[in-house]
Structures are given as C-alpha cells and as structure tokens.
C-alpha cells in the first residue's frame, strides 16, 4: 500500500532565504544561489555541514549547475541532484526534499532554486503543429482570459484587479522584483501584450534565488533548532495532465484534482486556508485557480476580489508575496519562494504584509507540459 507524506515522519521547514528576484543583470547565478542558501542557513541557525542532501531547481542554466555553486559552501560530499520541471521546478525540488526527510533517509535537506533569464529551448517531438510557434505562454493565457470573460461576463477591468492587488502586496516585499503599487488605470493602460493582457498583468521573468531547509524532529533536536519557528509540511501532491473533455481548460482541471488531493491529505477544507500562494503568471490564472482550489464557485472569483476577500487581512490572503506578477518568476526559485512566504506568514514574521493569525497555507504551481504541484503547510 502506498502512503502520503502525512503518514511518514513529520517534516518541518526550519530555514528560508532569498536572493531578491530582479531584472536580468550581469551577476552570475553562483552568488544569487549562495546568498539564498546562506540566508536559509542563518535563518535555521545551522551550519552547511548539517545539510545531508540538496535538490537544485533550475530550468534555464544548463546542465549540472549545482556543484559549481555549492562547492563554495565547503565541499562536504553530500548528494545533490538537479530538478527541471518547468515553472514547477522549485515546487518539485521541495517535494522531493520533504520526501527524503519523511522517509528517514536524511534528517536535514535543502531545496534551492536559482535561475537566470536564458532562452527557453523546447524539445522537438517530431509531431507537426498548425501555429504553436505563434502561441507563447502569454497568448495561451490571453485565450483563457477571453474564455473566462465571456463565460462569466467579466470585464477586462475585473480581471485586471488581480494585478492591482498583487502589485500592492509586492510593494511591501523586499524580495519582490516589482515593488511598486499600481492603479487599475496604470495596469490597464500599460503596454498591450496579447488579447486583453497588458504588461503589468504578466509576470516579469527575471533572475534570483530562493532556498528552503527541511528537517525531521530528530534533526531539529540534534541541531538545537527553535521548534517554535518550524512549520510542518502536511501535504505534498504532484500530478500531470490527463485527457480532459474537449474545451476544458487543462490548467484549471489539473489544479482542481491536485488541490483536492492535497486538502484531503491535510484533512482541511478550502475554507481553512489562511494563505494561498499560487501561479499567477497572468492575471486570469488567479481567478481560475482560486475557483479550482475551491475558495468559491466557478465565476465568483471577481466578486471575492472586489470584496477584498483575497487581500492581506481578508478571508484568505492570496499571493501576499506579490505572486508571480509582482514578486516575479525566475522559474527555478519560484515554487521554493512560495514556501518561504507561507513560512513567514505562519511564523508571524511577514512584517508589513502579515495576514492575521495565519495557521494554514497552500502553495500551488503549474508547469508547462503540464504538471501541477500543491503543498500545504500548517502551524
């Protein structure tokens, strides 16, 4: 019989760290990654040799980027592996670090995401296509925006409210790539990208790093870690796309089934969630995914946005970090940075963007292909 993470040894996040997400620069990836890892070690108050295993999430750096970075922490000989899973690379690395600790193979493991903005190279399958070369991600989501708007009678202004909220949150996040509040007029008046999407409704792909250290109870005891700041991972689910009925949006359908499994593992309902960090690379995605996760019925997302229910201090703070739209989406780090934000919120250490009395948070990423990863953390 197979088991879920919750049935194995408890796993806790004990350290988090970032290198700020930023516009592409001349800085090599090595110092970006090292900054995040050293911040996570300092946060956990442990030394590098305590880390028994490392998962390096990166999509755009090229083969075997980990060792040339990690060796500068002191080469301990501990195992390392690289994880590429498109936008969900970081979430996948986190899942496997958790599984390694939960299984008892390690007591302390690191998931680190680091990336630079490099050209994306997709594999050649040998199967032809009509015009897929003309349909980059922002057009995929521009099409979904058009469908959502028609099906639910939502206006371009309604959907753009997601960006207004997430830019407002990002303005309070020192690790965000975009740290500026934006009015609805600014969002709608920006450069037109595809369909009704404007540039401030699209993630600004940049560079950066995020690191999360996980540990077992034995590891927490061994290194004298403050158990009061440790946040347990109570669910971890990864799924990939199936065949859905013609016309069904696969991103939302995949999110729905993945989130349902994760909530069941954690024995929570959507109403129990205080924090959600989700894949809002484009505004319409946030509406799709909060509805798929079950915060509200299909088509009611705009009403929640308008009512402030998704704000910090509302019913459930969605993307308090600023999300992919404002915090940014350097690919490899993104899913790990989401975990870090939820940990800050559950510890009560999120400062100006603290959501009151946060006890349960859900992290969600989709990746081209398509894959979906959902984690739940609780204090």
């Amino acid at each position: 019989m197979t088991r879920s993470l919750i049935d194995l040894r408890p796993v806790y996040v004990i350290g988090i760290g970032w290198h700020r997400y930023q516009n592409p620069s001349e800085t090599p990836y090595v110092p970006l990654g090292l900054t995040a890892i050293r911040a996570a070690l300092a946060d956990a108050r442990i030394e590098w040799p305590a880390v028994e295993s490392t998962y390096v999430a990166t999509a755009l750096l090229g083969m075997a980027a980990g060792r040339p970075m990690l060796r500068h922490l002191g080469a301990t000989g501990a195992p390392l592996m690289h994880v590429e899973n498109a936008s969900a690379s970081g979430s996948t690395a986190f899942r496997h670090a958790c599984i390694e600790v939960a299984s008892g193979i390690s007591d302390v493991a690191l998931a680190v995401g680091v990336d630079k903005r490099n050209p994306v190279r997709r594999p050649e399958t040998g199967i032809g296509h009509l015009a897929e070369d003309a349909i980059v991600p922002f057009t995929h989501f521009a099409l979904l925006t058009n469908e959502y708007a028609v099906r639910h009678n939502a206006s371009a202004e309604d959907i753009a409210l997601v960006a207004v909220k997430n830019h407002r949150n990002g303005a309070k996040n020192p690790n965000a790539q975009r740290q500026q509040e934006r009015s609805l007029d600014e969002v709608l008046g920006g450069k037109r990208v595809s369909g009704s999407l404007t540039s401030l409704q699209c993630t600004p792909i940049g560079e950066g790093a995020a690191a999360v250290i996980v540990a077992s109870e034995e590891g927490i005891r061994r290194y004298g870690i403050d158990a009061g700041r440790a946040i347990r991972t109570t669910a971890s689910v990864g799924r990939s796309e199936r065949v859905y009925p013609p016309g069904a949006g696969f991103d939302a359908a995949l999110t729905k089934e993945t989130a349902e499994l994760a909530l069941a593992q954690a024995k929570l309902t959507p109403k129990d969630l205080d924090i959600i960090e989700l894949h809002d690379a484009f505004t319409v995605e946030e509406l799709h995914y909060i509805e798929s996760i079950g915060l509200c019925p299909d088509g009611h997302g705009v009403r929640m946005l308008r009512d402030g229910a998704l704000d910090i201090g509302g019913q459930c703070a969605v993307n308090p970090s600023g999300g992919l739209i404002a915090m940014g989406h350097p690919i490899g780090p993104t899913g790990i940075g989401q975990i870090g934000e939820i940990v800050l919120q559950l510890r009560g250490e999120a400062g100006a963007r603290q959501h009151r009395d946060a006890r349960a948070g859900l992290a969600h990423m989709v990746g081209v292909g398509a894959v979906c990863y959902v984690h739940i953390l609780q204090r």
Binding site: D133, A134, I135, A142, T145, V150, V243
Partner: protein, 139 residues
C-alpha cells in the same frame, strides 16, 4: 490555376488545392478506444496508450465553433510580425485546435461558427504559391 503547394502537407489535405473553393480536410487520427486527435501520429494514444494498428488516420472537417480568440500585440519571432490573431476552435469532429485567424476574416467572438481554408502565404523558391491553413468566421 497557378501551381501551389501546402506549407504543412502533413497536417491538412492537398486535394483541396485542385478543387477551387473546396474546404481543406485536417489530417487527424482515431484510436480503437474512440479517442479522436489532431494531428495524426503513430507514437501512441494519449487517452489509452494503444499504438501501432490501433491508431488510424482520420480526416476531420475544418469547421467548428470558436472557443476563444486573442490578438497578439507582441511577438519576438520576426518571421511572424505582430499583430496577428490566434483562435481556439472546437472542431465539429472533436479535437480542439489553436491556429491563426485569416487576415481578411470578419471580427470573431466566442460561440461563432468558424471554417478553415487554405490561403496564399508566400512563394516557394521554384515559384509555386505556398498555401497555409487559416480559419475565418463562417459566412
């Protein structure tokens, strides 16, 4: 008639070129399990995993209903200068495809009927007119 050749002969039927005005047919496939897909491939069925003889070519009508449209304002590839419009069409025969809206199509909104046709998109080195599939609002 001028000599003409399709840009992507693996995806739509060339017979249409000889019959002026006849709608092209899309080269899809059907699995023994009933799953209909586009384009034809022999690697294996996405629904059930069957391969080999289980997958047979199946021509699909180039007509359907519009699910969504997006006019692209920014596109990095200089071979395809923006603006252009992408349409997502649920074919009457089952699969959902995404392709280009014909430049001369009337404006479209979801729910409308759409049809595909071959339109001239350039000239080959040997002087043939190169045709590619575009969808437009059904008249």
């Amino acid at each position: 008639m001028y000599p003409a050749k399709p840009l992507k002969p693996g995806l739509y039927s060339v017979a249409a070129i000889d019959r002026d005005g006849a709608p092209p047919r899309l080269k899809g496939g059907r699995c023994r399990c009933g799953h209909v897909f586009f384009p034809m491939q022999a690697y294996g069925c996405e629904r059930c995993g069957s391969h080999g003889d289980a997958l047979t070519p199946c021509e699909l009508s180039a007509s359907g209903t519009l699910l969504a449209e997006a006019t692209v304002h920014l596109h990095a590839d200089k071979n395809r200068p923006a603006p252009f419009t992408i349409v997502k069409v649920a074919l009457d025969d089952g699969p959902v495809i995404r392709t280009l809206l014909a430049d001369d199509s009337a404006p479209v909104t979801p729910g409308q009927r759409m049809t595909g046709r071959l339109v001239a998109v350039g000239q080959s080195e040997s002087g043939e007119t190169v045709l590619d599939l575009r969808f437009s609002r059904a008249s």
